[in-house]
Amino acid sequence: MLELVGVSHHYMARKNSFDHGLHHVLDNVSLCVMPGDTLGIVGRNGAGKTTMLRLMAGIIEPRQGLIRRRAGASCALLSLGLGFQDSLSGRDNALLSAMLQGVSKRDALASLDEIREFTELGDSFEEPVKTYSSGMRARLGFASGLLTRVDILLIDEVLSVGDAQFRDKALGAMQQRLGGEQTVVFVSHAEGQLKALCDRAVWIEQGQLRAEGAPEEVIAQYRQPVGAGGGSARQP
């Protein structure tokens, strides 16, 4: 469904920081996501997780390496705090979000009530998003992403925010989708969620793939103190 072959990526940074102004975000990363897979990605802040999701979604191009996506596969990236037009209401943002994902205006309009209901935002759904708390944004982002049918769902920490009740609801909805053929790549710091949802996990550290395998094992390696886990933990 989705394959990364030797993908490296760097950003231009200030001249006297990083490697003479080159910030290496990903370094020769290869991995494969099969249809119906749920892949979890763990790693510290700044390890390159979000960049990896953006590369997978085709938003940016890798500096080196290849990204193969099954022809015609649609892809949605759910991330926190991004992608909303602050002055638009929750409803208008949900409409725009669905349409940008390729849904026709008629279908997008028809799905709005379902999204409103799922978010449980009530009248706030009609208010500008700039008045939302981060939890409310997460609700809107998750609902508008999940209810848009796409082949590959890329989730960036969206489930880490929000109150316990909504997290459970979102998790339940995710599990329902995962029963089908939904392919998901999932970045989270909530280890319980990763263990519950994912069939496989990878650990990214300083742009490199440090470990790959069953979520429990990968998370255990990731939890070891820095230096103790090391590069030797990498599995084929």
């Binding site: 938003i59 191009e61 949605a76 638009l88 409409l95 390729g102």
Partner: protein
């Protein structure tokens, strides 16, 4: 993305933005006509009251040029920053980057429809009645729109490459305001100079065409209009091509800006 979905998206983005804009301001939709009128008022105070311009019907003359110029300059300035200003969306979905400037231009087009309507009312009140020649307004407006699209797409592309370019765009707009005959008449110049101003500056040609049609009932030079429109169309297509070809590079520039 199909062409019809692309067009619906542009229209929806423009309408949503207009709605959000109107709810932000106390005067809401009234600003659509109030803002251009205030521009005219400023020029009126300076040129009619302070500098004692003796041109006949100066207010009408000013409105015909100024209202079309403001359409061009505001659209260009806003559209040129529209991709950078949509960092959130650009970082989340792989979409054609031309959507952002085109949606901004579409927003300006809806506002301009109200502005032209106001202009017609003023002209009518001042005794200028529409005739068959006024039919020329449609192609002139179309070429005006194409010119806005052409300049905006290129400007938006360049601003993503080098952010500093937006300073240049603001300067260029001021330069154009002074050289396009917004508050002076190119036809009052020495004939050779009139020829050069109207030939070299497509915006001056268009502003003059509006006035010639509405105030003097004279049709514009059709060949000249077609050439300006043709070049604008080609430049607009080139801009679309560049934005499409470098879409992911632009996304990277926007995300890291």
């Amino acid at each position: 993305m199909t062409l019809s979905h692309y067009a619906t998206l542009i229209d929806t983005m423009a309408r949503l933005s207009l709605k959000a804009d109107a709810s932000r301001y106390f005067f809401g939709y009234i600003w659509w006509v109030l803002e251009p009128l205030l521009y005219v008022l400023v020029f009126y105070v300076v040129f009619e009251l302070i500098l004692q311009n003796r041109k006949e019907d100066f207010v009408v003359f000013l409105m015909c040029g100024q209202l079309a110029f403001v359409w061009f300059s505001k659209s260009l300035n806003q559209a040129s920053r529209s991709i950078l200003g949509s960092k959130g969306l650009v970082g989340r979905v792989d979409i054609p980057k031309s959507l952002f400037p085109l949606a901004t231009i579409q927003e300006g087009l809806y506002k301009q429809a109200a502005v032209f309507l106001l202009l017609f009312v003023v002209l009518f009140a001042k005794g200028y009645t529409p005739s068959l020649v006024w039919g020329w307004l449609l192609p002139v407006m179309l070429v005006n729109y194409l010119l806005i699209v052409a300049c905006s797409l290129f400007a938006a592309y360049l601003v993503c490459w080098v952010f500093d370019f937006h300073v240049f765009i603001s300067m260029a707009t001021i330069f154009l305001m002074f050289t396009s005959g917004v508050f002076w008449d190119p036809r009052d110049l020495d004939p050779a100079m009139t020829h050069w101003v109207l030939t070299l500056n497509p915006l001056a040609f268009l502003l003059d065409a509006y006035r010639q049609i509405m105030l003097a009932e004279i049709a514009p030079n059709a060949v000249h209009l077609a050439i300006v429109g043709g070049i604008a169309l080609l430049v607009a297509l080139a801009g679309l091509f560049l934005l499409r070809r470098h879409s992911r590079f632009i996304a990277l520039r926007v995300i890291t800006s």
